[in-house]
Homo-oligomer: 202 residues x 2
């Protein structure tokens, strides 16, 4: 007697779904069976949406955000301040910054950060493109919104060195206590940075 | 200034992915961005696997399991005992039973259970198909592997009534303590059923 299993097409779908981030073997199987069984699953619409994104969405050649046009909405919005360029590691970090409402300039995604252990050097990042933009757009300030970890710091230091020859102010995000968090939860490095970056209140 | 957002195609994909069971708004966004950004995402292969399942996989007309052929592997396997039919609510419950190795007969998925609150009556289930199978296949035993909850019990009682006119033994799964579980975790109904179904050990 053969031990029963799902048809090969179902097993292939489970294997594909399992590759998606955050989807384990059990939820992949659950999604696949839902696609087959549920009346309102409409899996064809999911497949079409994947196809549409694959065919139409690309990185904005200027800033690295996502777009279906020649340039993204951020780069073409005339109401944004072209004198400010906020440098981030990944394009996915742009929307979280946008949601703060604390920045109204342009962005530049590097596509990662310098990380010798991962064999990622400066040439693997969109640094030349940033320098070319600075020459053309002549911003007054470059904000380095990079991670507060070793690789983020190294990337920020490397960029700060390169940018010294341009007539532009280079700033970085403040480091200190996260909002809503007590001292007892802060690690030593965060506390140390919060202390050395203390600001005057009176 | 417009607050930036993802291109419409990306937002449409997030909305589609969010419909999948177990995928919330945040993981839908994470999956969509992974499909756009990751070198090894190969989203086209995921879309193709969805399409292949949608086009080729259907319910086995005899037992209700999944198949790409006229009948499923379970119904065509000559090594299975045709004298035993195990009745389940959903076709997805067949493989868990198979994995136990405790059953080597055929299956019949009803497609649900009687549930007046959900407007599901006997006519909405594959009960006529079961009776037709019994007439043709003349099994010696029907095992009702239905849920140990109110709707499962009601469905089992309804089927037991119908099956009385056939020369077939009707059995149901044992109820009692789940394996590996102590008495302190068992609810009152489980304990009561375990007590009344107690078996002799010496």
């Amino acid at each position: 007697m053969k031990r029963a299993e799902y048809p090969a097409a179902v097993r292939a779908l489970v294997a594909e779904l399992k590759r998606m981030p955050g989807v384990g073997p059990r939820s992949a199987e659950r999604i696949a069976l839902w696609m087959i069984q549920s009346r309102d699953a409409r899996p064809g619409e999911i497949a079409r949406a994947i196809g549409a994104v694959t065919e139409t969405v690309q990185a904005c050649p200027r800033c690295g955000f996502f777009t279906t046009e020649a340039l993204c909405d951020l780069c073409t919005d005339p109401a944004r301040d072209s004198a400010l360029i906020c440098v981030v590691e990944l394009p996915t970090e742009i929307l979280p910054l946008e949601r703060t409402g604390a920045f109204r300039g342009r962005y530049h995604a590097l596509g990662g950060r310098i990380s010798p252990l991962d064999h990622i050097g400066p040439d693997d990042l969109r640094i030349d493109a940033l320098l070319a933009r600075i020459k053309v757009e002549a911003p007054s300030e470059i904000i380095l919104a990079l991670g507060a970890d070793v690789e983020g710091e190294a990337t920020a230091n490397y960029l700060a060195g390169l940018l010294r020859e341009f007539p532009v102010a280079v700033t970085r995000l403040a480091q200190g206590m996260p909002a809503g968090s007590g001292l007892e939860h802060a690690d030593e490095l965060t506390l140390s940075r919060a202390m050395s970056g203390r600001t005057r209140v009176g």
